[in-house]
């Protein structure tokens, strides 16, 4: 059992790493506000698939890395991602059996929750964004969710991550 539990840690690590790459990959200026929250999406996926192994702890570390990588206040993405992971793990049995489009709606809500927390924190720190485009990532994250889900599911099956 213990042997089985550890299978595929590398795969999980690599998918999280890929999400970090996508988080800072240069995009054209007009596209930048619409970058999906790749890191949150991958964390949500693993929280749904393997809530025992990937949960708030991993999410928190991931969030902290995003904070350093993008130069934001240390801990703001960590907090947001830990809370998103908390709700994902709580609801994973329901979300797992939804059809993909309903999963997208759940992902929209979860990512928007994370963004809401970040915008609160930024407001308190005196650097709130003044444009509705701020919420773009929630929308695009929901749109790309089916692709991310199918892609990561295939990877999980191929490498038998369990």
């Amino acid at each position: 059992m213990a042997e089985k539990k550890k299978q595929g840690s590398n795969v999980i690590f690599l998918t999280l790493l890929a999400a970090l790459f996508l988080t800072v990959l240069p995009l054209p200026e007009w596209l930048r506000p619409f970058r999906p929250e790749w890191a949150t999406l991958v964390v949500i996926y693993w929280c749904l698939a393997l809530p025992v192994r990937v949960n708030i702890g991993v999410a928190w570390v991931m969030g902290l890395t995003v904070d350093v990588l993008t130069g934001t206040l240390l801990g703001q993405h960590a907090l947001a991602m830990a809370i998103v992971a908390f709700f994902t793990v709580r609801l994973h049995k329901q979300i797992r059996v939804y059809p993909l489009w309903q999963q997208s709606l759940s992902v929209f809500t979860l990512v928007a929750l994370g963004q809401l927390l970040v915008v609160w924190i930024r407001g308190i720190a005196g650097d709130s964004p003044d444009s509705w485009l701020y919420w773009g990532p929630s929308l695009t994250s929901a749109i790309v969710w089916p692709v991310v889900f199918v892609f990561l599911r295939d990877i999980r099956r191929k490498f038998r991550v369990a």
């Binding site: 800072v24 995009l27 809530p51 990588l69 908390f86 924190i121 005196g126």
Partner: protein, 285 residues
């Protein structure tokens, strides 16, 4: 063992508390620069790899150019160099004269500046604050608050220094303000960022102030961060509004904020000119 037992709840509460503590300390006390430095070294490979394609294409662009192109470029640069040299000769004598006059007046002396070029890393940071990463850090003696210029004007200042890279806040970031003065008449004001890379707001200018469209703004050196006299922006809009205490004045930054790939780091120093002046005075005796 399962993720939502009592232990998980406790862990969740702890993580939240820990995040709040981190944010408070990071925002208020700045004790966490070391933590950030350590993590930044771990994530540096990500930034390096992400910016690799763009630096590789620019490297190939430089290395795969035809001979004619290079010759044409070379000629252009030669002409430009001769022109700048000629201007510089005048500048040196003026500068020394200026120093001598300042010394006569017992005024404080103008500082000379040491510079180092840095390259921008092609990584995207938060789209709602204007920050970029440069490839110089603690190793190269970069310090927090250090001014950054590009070829045509003030670019921004260093806000975070890590061992290998540092992040720079552009002067158009909504949280940035820069003391400037109008080059024509010395009128002092503050240029605040707006979040758009082509607009700066000039704050607290009375309706009857002598400022016109097309006026050049230079750093006034009053904030203590930027050396005085570097070009910043050109006034683009002046709208006196009698119903308000201050006029609406906007300016356009001179630096190529969207297209510069190389920027200059500036250290304020008190060396070169003074030595030059001493040399000349010694020679005159």
């Amino acid at each position: 063992m399962f993720a939502y037992g009592q232990a998980a709840g406790l862990r969740f509460a702890l993580l939240i508390f820990f995040s709040l503590a981190l944010m408070t300390i990071d925002h208020r006390l700045h004790y966490l620069d070391n933590v950030r430095s350590v993590i930044s070294i771990i994530v540096y490979p990500i930034q390096y790899i992400v910016s690799f394609p763009s630096s590789a294409t620019s490297w190939m662009g430089e290395n795969l150019r035809s001979r004619e192109d290079l010759l044409v470029d070379n000629e252009k640069l030669d002409t430009q160099n001769a022109f700048l040299q000629a201007q510089m000769q005048k500048y040196v004598s003026l500068e020394i004269e200026n120093m001598r006059l300042r010394r006569l007046l017992d005024a404080s002396e103008k500082l000379t500046d040491r510079v180092l070029t840095a390259e921008l890393l092609a990584v995207d940071l938060d789209p709602f604050s204007h920050k970029v990463m440069i490839n110089k850090g603690l190793r190269h003696d970069v310090h927090k608050g250090q001014p950054i210029l590009d070829a045509s004007g003030v670019y921004g200042q260093v806000v975070q220094v890590n061992p290998i890279v540092s992040s720079v806040m552009l002067l158009t970031d909504p949280g940035h303000a820069l003391p400037v003065q109008v080059n024509r008449n010395g009128l002092r004001t503050i240029a605040g960022g707006t979040g758009s890379t082509s607009v700066l707001n000039l704050l607290h200018i009375p309706n009857n102030a002598d400022i016109k469209q097309g006026d050049f703004l230079v750093t006034s050196g009053l904030g203590g961060v930027f050396p005085a006299g570097y070009p910043v922006a050109k006034v683009s809009v002046v709208e006196p509004d009698p119903s308000q205490p201050f006029a609406v004045v906007k300016a356009e930054p001179l630096a190529n904020l969207e297209s510069s790939r190389e920027v200059l780091l500036v250290w304020k120093e008190k060396s070169g000119q003074e030595k030059a002046l001493v040399n000349i005075e010694d020679g005159g005796k």
